[in-house]
Every structure is written in structure tokens, then in C-alpha cells.
Amino acid sequence: MNALILLVPMALLLGLLGLALFLWTLRSRQYEDLDGAASRILFDDLPKKDLPK
């Protein structure tokens, strides 16, 4: 019974953390281009060009 006092808030907190992360991904438009994101991880990045100041 005493364990519940600790476990229940912890479980809820972790769940809420997941929910908050989901809402953040939604807000930063990460579901707009799912096909593109899938192939993007395979790109080799070219060396960054030097931006003229």
C-alpha cells in the first residue's frame, strides 16, 4: 500500500512526460513529411559550406 504512494505518481509523471513530448513533436511539425523523414536518415551530410559573413 505504501508503495502506491510512490509508484502511482511516478507512473503518471512518466506518462505525462510522454504525452508532453508527443505534443511537442506535433507542434514542431514532425508529422508533416513522414516519407521524407524516413529517407532523410540515410543521407550523407556534405561538409558544411563556409558562410560568408
Binding site: 510522454g18 504525452l19 508527443f22 506535433l26 513529411d33 521524407g36 529517407s39 532523410r40 556534405l46
Partner: protein, 787 residues
């Protein structure tokens, strides 16, 4: 972005490590005698890609052969006018990029732009085909950046408001958020509920704690996650109808209220898990359904954006400037180049030759006398001319037609989908049963009202809606997805159901049964070498007849130093390709559909063109008839041409010289007689008929107004996918009926059990999940390839 000559030499075709026979850039099959590339554009694009060190692209690309062939003409719109200035002095440009079909394409476009020194960011979206470029510097750079993408082989178009509507879908975002919240809520409530179900020896106080926890999570979830359903149900209520969302909303709210009462009196179970699980399952179905339809709408928007053109406005100082058609006012002078489509209504000061295929359906170009009204939508087949605009876009003939279409659309909104028809019968019945259960237990058996509430709500939740609400959308997702893969874009939510019930097919001729643009007629008298030479010359021109020559001989190499004499033809040294007068031939009846080639020292050769029937036209008509549809042909073209097409395709009754009003009238006659006509058409003259028909389709090369009026757009070439679409639609309809009857059958067992009070939340959850899974599995059969 210039390639130094020395760099170019390093990449001679011989060094390119690719199998022979295909263009090293776009993958088109090569003709004998060609080097590594099919055209100068591809050669340039390849040099550009290698020069940037991006040749990894060729190992990864998955595009279909020929899609990356750079267009001959630069983008026809002025990108600089589309650039928007940002607050920090940089500029931003949004483009629709066609041909962006694989991850490697995204990479190539982004990296090629990133290599430009002043570009700050370039981001391409693969699913929306949208490219956003930000750069430091003036708006003029936009032209060069857009041209760079075009030189890689991608077709670019302005990102139009139509594309915006299709993607920036606030409602879709709201649904996704609701799904996330409902899924989180249902899983956490389930955690608590399982403890209650398993803990039979749980103390009273612990159970109360669990109940309060479930309420704490469940209440906000039901409130926020159910919003999409409450809104839709409220709208239906105000319109005096009952829909499936009303059943869902009432079920969820009643379950929540009952659970709250159980929390207060510390009953054996709460039912928050059922309410939240129901919401999560239904929202998942809805998100999938929406995603599928969004893809189709985006593809339609892409087709439309590619047609969006600008107009060459003649300024006061005599120069021309490319501006969007929307900014033109009545009285402005515009230049209509040879081969251009008229975007606005106007009059010309000279006689002009127009292809009226899209506006009246005539397949042979017609001469229009000076001073006569020229309708937007026709194509200039003669020399370029100046036109005085008589109406701005929003007052012109196209806009008037658009308003007509809107009214027709509203009329068609009365169609009731099968799911709604089921809901109209089902919702009242379920609610009467639930009310009777409540009263029966309260007064009949004599338990307290709180206890009587439990079986009543259990009856609501086991009958409800899960299987039934998913039954139809699941089938739609599977069917629309299968059709999408075959190039059939289903834009309207009820289109499949209407297509399944169509019993009459009315087809347009020009552009629908026929190609809609001139095609070279095969002629024994023309030697292949001459055709090849003519096609090489024709590569330099955008004129429809030149393009037809290029299509007839696609592997002809482009020639340099070809001069286009507007309105007459093409010249390279003493080599001439053009109309009769240009080549010094006296021709009696020039219909505007022939070209002459004059080589020095030889007799001029004639190439004749006509609007040819599509290769698969007869096959499609036969397939439609085999599916039990009565076919008929309705065209604005001349009697002889229509009769010939009708005979060649075996189509039933035909009518020639039909005006747009005639077409619409024919459709309403059919509808009045109880038929359900499927109208297939491509032209502006078909738009009214398309909007009035029971269901409508238009081919990919149709005019934008026809596509907007259609429920279904066929991407790819021809009508071949139409019979397949009807087959899939009919199968989907059958499966939807199966699913609905299955859900009802489930209730025959579940409802009595609930009414008698045998159902616990655990059983309700099992019933809900299992019926949904069976319905979904059955629905997946709609997407199977073979019937």
C-alpha cells in the same frame, strides 16, 4: 553556379559508369548513336550534379525513367514576384516541385541549393512536394534558384493557395492531437482498471483510490479527446439529423457520467477505460482515413499547380513582364505567345487561330476574326498576338463557371453515405434500448437508480459504435489506398460509394477519349530520317505541333542555333520547318494542323496531325460496358469526328455539337429519369456536367476547372484505370455492407447480455477490440489487387 570548362571536360560521357542504353541522368532508353545522354538538358543536369560532387544521387535514385528530363523551357512564372521578404532582410520562396519522388531527390535538391553561397536553408518535403528556400539577398535571386532546380530536371511551379489548403490542415492536426491524448488516457486508465479487475481481494479504500485515479485521468481525456466527435454531433443535431458521431458522443458521455456516479458510491467497477478506449480506436481510424485522402488531395493539388500559369503583361513602355493572372485588370494588354493557353477573356486586334478543345470540344483549331471575344481556356495555335483583356480573373467566364460549380456541388452534398443511413436507423434503436433497460431495472427490478444506470450504459457501450463506426472508414482507407497506387485520386469522401452505384457512363470526346492534343499521323511517304531531323528542330519550340513531332520521335537530339520565327516556323540555316507560307508551299486548305519540312534541294515534306483517339479508348469503353454501364458520347466536336470516334470505340448513342448547356441538360435528363450517370470529361465545357453528375472523373491532362469539379482524377495516361476504379468501388461497397451487418450481428448477442447485466468493463473492452479487429481485417480485402 557556373561550371568551369575544365571541370566539364573532366566528366566526359565515356567516364560515366553506367550501363549502356539509358540516359545517365534521367534513365530514358537511348537511341543508337546517342552518347550517354538523351538530350542537352540531361547532359547539362548531369554536369551540374557531378560538378557539385553530388553524384551519389545516381546510385540512390528510384525515380521512373524519364521523370528527371529537364524541361526545354525555363519556368514560365516569375519566381522573383513570389519571394517574400523576412523581417531579418533575408528572402523566402516556396515552390511546388514535381518529380520529387524519392529520398535521393530530396537530398539532391537540398544539397544543390545548400551549395549556393547565399542560401541559408533549403528544405524539401517529400510528401507535400514542397520546397522552402531561404537566402540572404534580394528577391531577384529567386529566379536563379528556381531555374537551378529546373535544370536538375524537376518541374517547379508556384506554391499555390490550392496546395496550401491541401496540406496545412488544421483539422488533421487537431485529430492527431486528440488521438495522442486519447491513446495516453486509455492506456493509463487501463493500468488502473486492470488493478481493479485483478484485485478481487482489494480493500474498499484502495478501490476508491483507484476509482478516483481513473476519474482523474479519464475525465480530461474524454473531454479533450472526444472534441472532434462532439463538434460533428452538435452540427448534425442542429441540422436535425442523427449521425454516427452522435451515437459515439452520447455513448462516451453517458459512460463517463455513469462512471462518475460509480466513483461517488464506490461501486465495483468504473467504465472510464471503455470510454477512452472507444475514443482512441475511433480516432485512430479517422486519422488513417484522413491521411489517405490527404495524399490524394495533395496529388490533385500538384496537378493543378503545374497548370497555374502567369501572363505576359505588356507594360506602358512596350516591354513584357510575367505576372500572375490574378493581378491583371480589364483593359490591360497581354501577349499570347504561340502555343500559350489563354488565362483570361479578351479580344484581339487581328485574326487568330485558336484550339478550342477545352472550351467547346472542337478538335480542329478554328480561325477567330479580329474583335470577336476570345474565351479563356483556349490555346493559341497561330502566331503570337496581343490581346486586350475584357474581364479580370474574378469577373471572367472561368470565375462565373466556378460559381456555377459551387452551387452544383452544394446540391450534391445531399447524398447520404451508407454509414449515415445505417446511423439513422441504428442510433434511435440503441438509445431506446438503453432507456428501456434503465427504466426496467429501476422500476421493474427495483434497484437504486445508480445501479440501474450500469446495465443501461453497458448496453450503450457494447452496441455502440466501435465496429460500426469503423466499418465503413476502414474499407474506404483500404480502397482509396489501393486506387492511389494505381493512379486514381479519390478527392471526395463519398465518391467511392457513388461510383459503385453508377449505371450510366457519359464520356466526352476531345481530351477524354482522344488525346486532346495534336498527334502526328503516321505517313508512309515521310522517311524516318526526315522525321528525326524535323523532331530535332522541333525541340526548340513549345508550339503544340512541334511538341507532337518530338513525341513522335522522342530520341531525336536537340540542335543548336535553331531560330523560331513566331507564327511561322523554325529555321536553322537553310533548313525550314513551319507552315505552308513559311516553306513556300501553296496549300489550299490549311486547318492549322500540318507542318512542312523543307530541306535544301528537296521537295517539301508534309507532316499531318490530328487529335487521335487514345490507344486504350475502345478497350476502356468495352470494359465499362462489361461492368454493366450504359455508355454514351457527348461532344462539342463536329458530327463527322464524333461519329468516327463512336464507331471506333463501339460506344453507344452519341451526340455532336453539344454546348456546355446541352451537356448539363443531358445529365439532368438522365438523373431525372432515375439513372446514376458517371460523367468523364476534361474540358471547361464539361465542368457543369461533371458537377451535376452522380459521380465524375477527369483525366490527368484535363483543365484545372474540370479536375476541381471531379470526384476522381486519373493520374497517369488515359482512362485505363477507370474500370478498375469501378471494380474496387463496388467491392468496397460490398465489404462495407458486410462489415455493417457483422457489427449488427455482434449486437444480437452482446445487447441481451448487457441488458441483463452480465457485462463487466472487461467484457466490454474485449467485445470492442475484437469486433474492431475483425471489421478491419475484412476491410483490408478491399485493397487486394485481384478481384
Amino acid at each position: 553556379m557556373t561550371i568551369a570548362p575544365a571541370q566539364k571536360d573532366r566528366f566526359l560521357p565515356e567516364q560515366i559508369n553506367l550501363s549502356r542504353g539509358a540516359c545517365a541522368h534521367c534513365g530514358t532508353a537511348l537511341a543508337p548513336g546517342q552518347g550517354a545522354f538523351c538530350c542537352a538538358g540531361c547532359s547539362g543536369a548531369h554536369a551540374l550534379v557531378r560538378g557539385l560532387g553530388l553524384d551519389a544521387f545516381y546510385r540512390r535514385q528510384e525515380t521512373a525513367a524519364g521523370t528527371l528530363r529537364p524541361p526545354e523551357a525555363p519556368p514560365s512564372f516569375d519566381a522573383a514576384t513570389l519571394a517574400t521578404a523576412e523581417a531579418d532582410g533575408t528572402h523566402r520562396l516556396e515552390l511546388m516541385v514535381s518529380g520529387l519522388t524519392c529520398g535521393a531527390c530530396v537530398w539532391l535538391v537540398e544539397q544543390a541549393l545548400a551549395a549556393e553561397p547565399d542560401v541559408l536553408r533549403a528544405r524539401a518535403s517529400l510528401s507535400a512536394r514542397r520546397l522552402t528556400i531561404g537566402w540572404r539577398g534580394g528577391a531577384d535571386r529567386a529566379r536563379e534558384l528556381a531555374a537551378l532546380v529546373a535544370r536538375l530536371g524537376f518541374r517547379v511551379a508556384p506554391w499555390s493557395p490550392a496546395c496550401l489548403r491541401a496540406t496545412e490542415d488544421a483539422e488533421g492536426q487537431a485529430l492527431l492531437r486528440a488521438l495522442g491524448i486519447a491513446a495516453f488516457g486509455s492506456m493509463n486508465v487501463m493500468l488502473v482498471s486492470v488493478a481493479v479487475w485483478a484485485g478481487g481481494d482489494m480493500g474498499e479504500q484502495t478501490r476508491a483510490l483507484m476509482h478516483w485515479l481513473a476519474a482523474l485521468i479519464g475525465l480530461p481525456t474524454v473531454l479533450v479527446g472526444g472534441m472532434p466527435f462532439y463538434k460533428s454531433a452538435w452540427q448534425a443535431l442542429r441540422a436535425g439529423r442523427a449521425n454516427m458521431d452522435l451515437a459515439v458522443s452520447l455513448g462516451v458521455i453517458a459512460t463517463t457520467v455513469m462512471s462518475l456516479s460509480e466513483v461517488f458510491r464506490n461501486g465495483p467497477y468504473t467504465w472510464f477505460d471503455s470510454a477512452t478506449l472507444l475514443l482512441a480506436l475511433l480516432l485512430a481510424g479517422r486519422v488513417l482515413d484522413r491521411g489517405m485522402r490527404r495524399r490524394a488531395r495533395q496529388a490533385v493539388a500538384e496537378l493543378l499547380a503545374l497548370q497555374d500559369g502567369s501572363v505576359a503583361l505588356i507594360c506602358a513602355d512596350g516591354t513584357t513582364r510575367a505576372v500572375p493572372a490574378e493581378s491583371i485588370r480589364a483593359g490591360d494588354m497581354v501577349l499570347i505567345a504561340s502555343g500559350d493557353r489563354l488565362r483570361l477573356d479578351g479580344v484581339a486586334a487581328q485574326d487568330v487561330v485558336l484550339d478550342l478543345g477545352a472550351t467547346t470540344g472542337e478538335s480542329v483549331p478554328r480561325e477567330v476574326a479580329a474583335g470577336q471575344a476570345l474565351a479563356a481556356g483556349s490555346v493559341n495555335m497561330g502566331p503570337g498576338f496581343q490581346m486586350r483583356v475584357t474581364a479580370a480573373v474574378r469577373d471572367g467566364s472561368l470565375a462565373a463557371l466556378g460559381r456555377l460549380l459551387e452551387r452544383a456541388e452544394q446540391g450534391r452534398g445531399r447524398f447520404v453515405s451508407i454509414a449515415d443511413r445505417a446511423a439513422r436507423v441504428y442510433v434511435p434503436v440503441v438509445h431506446v434500448i438503453a432507456a428501456a433497460t434503465f427504466l426496467g431495472w429501476w422500476f421493474g427490478v427495483g434497484v437504486t437508480w445508480q445501479e440501474a444506470l450500469v446495465p443501461a450504459v453497458a448496453a450503450l457501450i457494447v452496441t455502440c459504435p466501435c465496429g460500426l463506426a469503423i466499418a465503413v472508414p476502414a474499407v474506404q482507407v483500404a480502397a482509396v489506398g489501393a486506387l492511389f497506387r494505381r493512379g486514381v485520386l479519390v478527392a471526395s469522401p463519398t465518391a467511392l460509394e457513388r461510383l459503385a452505384s453508377a449505371d450510366h457512363a457519359v464520356l466526352d470526346k476531345t481530351g477524354t477519349l482522344s488525346e486532346g492534343h495534336p498527334e502526328l499521323l503516321p505517313d508512309e511517304a515521310v522517311p524516318p530520317d526526315a522525321l528525326r531531323l524535323a523532331a530535332s528542330l522541333a525541340r526548340a519550340s513549345r508550339h503544340p505541333l512541334s511538341q507532337a513531332l518530338v513525341r513522335a520521335c522522342p530520341d531525336a537530339p536537340a540542335l543548336d542555333s535553331v531560330i523560331e520565327v513566331p507564327g511561322f516556323g523554325l529555321q536553322r540555316g537553310d533548313l525550314l520547318l513551319g507552315n505552308a507560307a513559311f516553306c513556300g508551299v501553296t496549300e489550299t486548305s490549311d486547318s492549322g494542323m500540318s507542318l512542312y519540312l523543307r530541306q535544301p534541294g528537296e521537295a517539301p515534306l508534309i507532316f499531318r496531325f490530328s487529335d487521335r483517339l487514345r490507344a486504350d479508348a475502345a478497350e476502356v469503353v468495352a470494359a465499362l460496358q462489361a461492368l454493366g454501364l450504359e455508355t454514351e458520347l457527348l461532344s462539342g466536336d463536329a458530327i463527322s469526328a464524333v461519329e468516327e470516334a463512336a464507331l471506333a470505340t463501339g460506344i453507344g448513342p452519341w451526340q455532336a455539337r453539344a454546348t456546355p448547356a446541352d451537356k448539363a441538360a443531358r445529365i439532368s435528363t438522365l438523373r431525372a429519369a432515375g439513372a446514376r450517370p458517371l460523367m468523364i470529361g476534361d474540358g471547361i465545357n464539361d465542368a457543369a456536367a461533371l458537377a451535376m453528375a452522380h459521380v465524375s472523373a477527369s483525366p490527368a491532362n484535363g483543365t484545372d476547372i474540370a479536375q476541381a469539379a471531379s470526384d476522381i482524377v486519373l493520374r497517369g495516361n488515359g482512362l485505363a484505370a477507370m474500370p478498375y476504379a469501378i471494380t474496387v468501388a463496388r467491392r468496397a461497397q460490398k465489404l462495407a455492407l458486410q462489415n455493417i451487418s457483422f457489427s449488427l450481428a455482434y449486437n444480437v448477442v452482446a445487447v441481451p447480455a448487457a441488458v441483463l447485466g452480465f457485462v463487466t468493463p472487461l467484457i466490454a473492452a474485449l467485445v470492442m477490440a475484437s469486433s474492431s479487429i475483425i471489421v478491419i481485417l475484412n476491410a483490408l480485402r478491399a485493397g487486394k489487387e485481384t478481384a
